[in-house]
């Protein structure tokens, strides 16, 4: 029997990038397998954008090595099998959407082979095809950027905040497009997003970065299945966080305690003895948000998801 070991689409070993005294990446090791949608998560400053820029050859690592599609970063033959969109794209303002795609098709070496009208239709820009991009909204630029990233039919697509600036219907369409790329076209999609619920919904695997290092990696289903937590509605929250230390995460006006079922009663007893007022205590299954906040030590805001 022959075992086929498939080369990862992205392989990163000991990747370090420093800006002066700041270490944006700190010896990062990461291997992204072929197929599916892969999410790269982390609070601001975790190193996601730096990682993406290194993978795209925009910046050079201080130490370590990275390969894309089996070739070192910067090798054009490998890089041409990849499409990308980093943050909200900006295009020459004097060009129309159609001209932008034609220009980038020429630049990417695919020229006339690209179905420009088809891609404009796929991202919902047919009516704006002949309008100059200087009048485009952020969402429209984002759609055009996605079309530019996908039109040369890459095997790997890197998207940084692909739904940023989009309205809810646009976000839904983008989610469907990303999923269909992976499911129907066999494209590997690697994306970074602050929308953790969105990531949980469309990603198959995730990597969580914190301070330039990988703190957790795995299938979304695995990460969320193993993280049962005790949710405590308590007053004062800060005192409970202090008692729990790294095992406690703020969740609005409550605290998520990473303790086992056996430890639960003892914890509640200890909190009562410490004078903590407990309104409710219940076991909850972990979602990606709670895994993220646990791993990065971030605080979950009461109303909105806060990844900073």
């Amino acid at each position: 029997m022959t075992t086929v070991i498939e080369t990862p689409v992205i392989e990163v070993r000991g990747l370090t990038k420093t800006y002066g005294t700041v270490r944006a990446l700190d010896g990062l090791d990461l291997s992204i397998p072929r197929g599916g949608v892969y999410g790269v998560l982390g609070p601001n400053g975790a190193g996601k954008s730096t990682l993406f820029r290194i993978l795209l050859g925009l910046i050079r690592p201080t130490e370590g090595a990275a390969s894309v599609m089996g070739g070192p970063v910067g090798q054009v033959a490998s890089m041409r099998r990849m499409g990308s969109m980093i943050e909200t794209p900006r295009f020459p303002p004097y060009m129309t959407a159609r001209q932008v795609l034609h220009w980038l098709a020429l630049e990417h070496g695919v020229g006339a082979a690209v179905d420009v009208p088809g891609w404009l239709e796929r991202v919902g820009l047919t009516e704006a095809a002949d309008r100059k991009v200087k009048g485009f909204s952020v969402g429209m630029l984002q759609r055009l950027g996605v079309a530019a990233a996908l039109m040369s039919k890459p095997e790997l697509v890197i998207l940084d905040e692909p739904t940023s600036g989009m309205d809810p219907p646009g976000i839904q369409e983008m989610r469907a497009l990303i999923r269909s790329l992976a499911d129907d076209d066999g494209v590997t999609v690697v994306l970074a997003s602050h929308q953790l619920q969105e990531v949980q919904r469309i990603c198959d695997r995730v990597a969580i970065l914190h301070k330039g290092k990988l703190v957790r990696e795995g299938a979304v289903t695995e990460l969320t299945a193993t993280g049962e937590q005790l949710r405590l509605s308590v007053k004062p929250v800060d005192q409970v966080i202090g008692i729990l230390g790294s095992r406690g995460v703020r969740d609005g006006a409550a605290v998520l305690a990473n303790v086992s079922r056996a430890e639960g009663p003892g914890l509640i007893r200890a909190l009562v003895e410490a004078g903590i007022e407990i309104d409710e205590a219940r076991w909850v299954g972990a979602d990606l948000e709670s895994v993220f906040f646990t791993e990065t030590g971030s605080i979950r805001a009461p109303e909105t998801t806060h990844a900073g």
């Binding site: 820029r53 795209l56 050859g57 925009l58 910046i59 050079r60 910067g74 054009v76 890089m79 041409r80 990849m82 990308s84 980093i86 943050e87 794209p89 900006r90 295009f91 020459p92 004097y94 060009m95 001209q99 034609h102 220009w103 980038l104 020429l106 630049e107 990417h108 070496g109 020229g111 530019a148 040369s152």
Partner: protein, 285 residues
């Protein structure tokens, strides 16, 4: 890869109509229109105005020779106004688009050397287009002269004159490319459109002043120092060498020094820009 980048750069620049107009079309157009107007004024004021600018009006029975346009256009196609207009186009191409937003779109799918060489290639095409349009404008200028002064037109050019015009045209082309190479190096190093415009202009200005002040500095055209420091002087020396037989102080050695000076000012900025760009982090400004 270079071909892809060249096609893409040429396509993009062709859509930037304002820059195409300013860098390539404006000067020849103004020269053609202004020239025709000048002939009209000159005739109405007698031939004094023409004498003042050194313009020879053919005698009444003599036709205007359109063949003269080649030598005139070849010599004038790297004049100061054209150099400044070409600088505006080149700086826009090198620095105006030299931003994080552009590079993140294209650099992942092409190698950096090709991307820079493509921009240089487009500037070279612009220089050729500018020279050809200037030649066309010179034809218009001469035709206007014939119309205003009621002369017939003729066309004659001998082989030697054509050869000289071609050589001078080549020198003028190199001079334009050399001047815009300073913009390339500045653009890569500074990532600033303003710097890419200002530095070559300021450098050219200082070199012009030094060239004028050469006698005061004790610099002679046959010396290495002025030929290496002043590409404008090197260009003028070579033009003089081509236009007529070598006379003191234009010895063969002087010509080689001029060639060396002009070549170094053309090649070194390009090598510097490529080396710098290959190692540069293309992140946000």
């Amino acid at each position: 890869m270079l071909v892809d980048a060249l096609r893409a750069e040429a396509y993009r620049f062709s859509l930037n109509r304002m820059q195409v107009f300013v860098s390539v079309v404006m000067t020849p157009l103004l020269f053609a229109i202004g020239g025709a107007f000048f002939h009209y004024i000159s005739k109405s004021k007698g031939d004094e105005a023409a004498d003042k600018v050194g313009l020879i009006i053919p005698a009444s029975a003599t036709p205007v020779n359109l063949g003269d346009a080649f030598a005139f256009a070849a010599s004038g196609s790297a004049n100061g106004v054209i150099l400044i207009c070409m600088l505006i186009g080149a700086a826009t191409l090198y620095a105006g688009d030299y931003r994080w937003e552009s590079w993140r779109l294209i650099s992942a799918r092409n190698d950096r050397v090709s991307l820079i060489l493509a921009k240089v290639g487009v500037v070279k095409l612009l220089a050729i287009a500018s020279s050809l349009l200037f030649l066309a404008a010179t034809f218009v200028f001469l035709i206007a002269q014939a119309v205003v002064y009621e002369r017939s037109l003729s066309f004659s050019i001998d082989g030697a004159e054509a050869g000289k015009a071609a050589l001078v045209w080549l020198l003028s082309y190199v001079r334009i490319v050399q001047f815009t190479m300073i913009a390339l190096l500045t653009a890569v190093m500074s990532r600033s459109l303003l710097a890419a415009l200002f530095v070559p202009w300021a450098l050219g200005f200082v070199q012009g002043i030094l060239g004028t002040a050469s006698p005061l500095l004790g610099w002679e055209p046959q010396m290495w120092l002025p030929q290496l420091l002043l590409p404008g002087l090197a260009y003028d020396t070579l033009k003089a060498a081509v236009a007529g037989p070598l006379a003191a102080p234009l010895t063969d050695a002087t010509v080689w020094r001029s060639l060396t000076g002009l070549a170094l000012w053309t090649i070194l900025p390009l090598i510097g820009a490529l080396a710098w760009f290959k190692r540069q982090d293309l992140s946000k400004e």
